[in-house]
Structure formats: structure tokens, C-alpha cells
Symmetry: C2
Subunit: 215 residues, 2 copies
Amino acid sequence: MHNVKFMYPVPIQKLIELFTKFPGIGPRQATRFAFFILKEKNSLVEDLRGALSEVREKISICNECFRTTEREERDEERCAFCRDSRRDHRLIAVVEKESDMLNLEKAGAYHGRYHVLGGVISPLDPDSPRRIRLRELHERVRGLVADDASCEVILATNPTTEGDTTALYIERILSPFKDQHPALKISRLGRGLSLGSELEYVDEMTIKNALNNRK
Amino acid sequence: MHNVKFMYPVPIQKLIELFTKFPGIGPRQATRFAFFILKEKNSLVEDLRGALSEVREKISICNECFRTTEREERDEERCAFCRDSRRDHRLIAVVEKESDMLNLEKAGAYHGRYHVLGGVISPLDPDSPRRIRLRELHERVRGLVADDASCEVILATNPTTEGDTTALYIERILSPFKDQHPALKISRLGRGLSLGSELEYVDEMTIKNALNNRK
């Protein structure tokens, strides 16, 4: 009867398509986003465009720990933590991603440096060890053990299959250093009951860990 | 011990803040989005910036039905549907938002025009009737009934409290036309069982509607 098919205008379609690439976003929510932006058109589009340019222009990656840092901060490409001499540079917490640092810092119990892997090793993806910053960690630890003072690498990956695989892999590639330098300690975050969890609903593995780590 | 607080670089914070405004997005997912963009930096930032500019520059709103339309399409600010003479202009489906048109069109059973309200009337928000395009609908219907030929307004709002409130409100403001022009019909989408639903789990109201609308 009618041959004009219903389609969103091309620019909206493009925007929807881009939002569909975002993690956890399907076509339906991407459409909501696009129309939300259209509604807030004047202010939000400018703000978003500005924020995107700034991210492109001002963000660089710290040469040492690989978290993001603002390029303006200083000429050298090291983040505020890596330049902070009060933070113990002989203590490195290895995290999967930058957002994992947030809660470690909030807890206020850690005063060392970090190493952001930028991903995990997936047993299903043989390329994954090459994609994360393992070589860089290896180099850092090599520099650390050179003067034979005590130092520690804390493997703070997530307690998931992939996080555990990654931690095991790192332990393996760092073990030659450990053999030669007894002053190097490699540790992992303690396992046990989370605060507020109920024994009735806790999984077996957590119970086992809680029993093994009892004091 | 250390006074350099953990913070994401300012451009990332800004981006996270903007994403937090998106519908259904909390700070955690906004952070995921920001780091996703950082990871895909080169291509995605440019694509997004481009798409946002295009939306700003090329999208306008159809003067007649208020759906979005591409400004380039033609000089006059009417969408493809409103220019399509094969679509019955004496049949107007009133929808809450543009994305509601998609399924109506997909079903292929509708060959009239539309009216996009751009929202609903919320019983809790006394300003909401002024924010949606009721005056514009009123004007359209006034034009429609002027020549006393048969015409129909289908209230295709959602079967929710707000959608029903909106439909009732519209029925009320259009009723003077109906009294003067018996050729004007005002209808609402039929209620009943959705395809694939199971009686066991269907709510009371739907059962009632299904009984009332039985054939």
C-alpha cells in the first residue's frame, strides 16, 4: 500500500549504531540514548563533543603503571601516583583495569604503586596474554629486584576464573625472578567471607577459602 | 600517609558525569562507557563526535507529526510520511514517542499518519500537559474536521497508568470536535492477551480486557 519504509533519519541511525557498540547496550537502549540526546540537543551535544575532544587531546597513559593521566599535568608521562615519593615504589598491586583501583584506594589501606594490566587472560582466547601488559610488568619487576632489597607484587586480579588464570600466569612468568631474588614476594588478595554476606547463601568456594584462611 | 587522592583525570570525570545523565545509566556503567571509549579512542571518538554534529545539524522535527526528519531531505520541514500522499491523512495515530512508531510500522497494518506527543501526562506532574504536543494535536484535528469528511484519531499511547491518563485527557480535549462533527471517530488500541502469553501468568486487568473484547 505504501512504500516509504519507516526508518529513523540517517544521523540518528548512525548514533544508535555507535551506542550499540557500548558495553551492555542493545539496540533498544541505544535508541533511547539517541532520542535522549535529541531531546537535550543543545546543551548535551556540545558537552559530549567537548568531553570527547578533551579525552582525545588530554588523556595519556602513565609510562610506569599504565593508568590514564592528564597530559597537561606535567611533561613527563607519569601519573600522580608514580611521581609520589611517599608511595612505596617497591610494592606493586597488579589490577585488571583502572576502575579496580578505586575501591583499593577508598579502603585507604594500600600505599604502594599499581600496574594496570588492561584486561585479563581468557582461557578461550590464546591471544589474550599478548594483549595485556605482561611484558611491561616483567620489565618493571626486573628493575625492582635488581638491587636485592625486599619488594612485593600483589596480584589483585578479580576472584573470577579469568582473574585467577591471569594471576596464575603472572606467578609463572615472575617465578624465575623469585628463584634468584628471595627478597621478592608475590602475594594474592585474601579470600574469605565478604562483609555482610550470610553463610546460608555463600558459595562453597568462598566457605572453603574462609575456612582455610581462618585466624 | 599519602595525600594524592585517587581520581580519574578530569576529562574522564567529565565524560563519566555526562554518561550518568543518560536514561538508566548509573555511575558504574558510565565509568565503563568512559573507559570503553578510551580503549577504542581513535576511531570511536571521531565517529561519535561526527554523529553528534550530524544530529545537531541535520535533524529537524516534522512540522506536522513531530517525528524527527532529516533537514536535507527537502526544504519544507515535513517528514516522508507526511509528504506521502498514499498514507491516509485522515487517520492519525497518536503515539507517546517516535520509537513507538517502529512496531506499528513493522506490523504493516497501519497506513495512516502519526502524531508524536513527545511524552505523557503524569498525574504527579501538573506541568506535563503543557510539555507534550497537545495544542498541536488540537490544531491538527481542528483542520481535519473542517471539511466534515470521516476521519479518525487512534490513541496509541501505552497501556500504562500514564499512557491511559494521557489518552483520557486527549479524549476530553477532543470531545468538543466530536460533538460538532459526528464524522470524527476517536478510538484506542484494542486490549487483550498478547501473543504467546499464558493465562496462568496474565494479570487481572488483561484478563478482564480479553473477556470484554472477546469475539
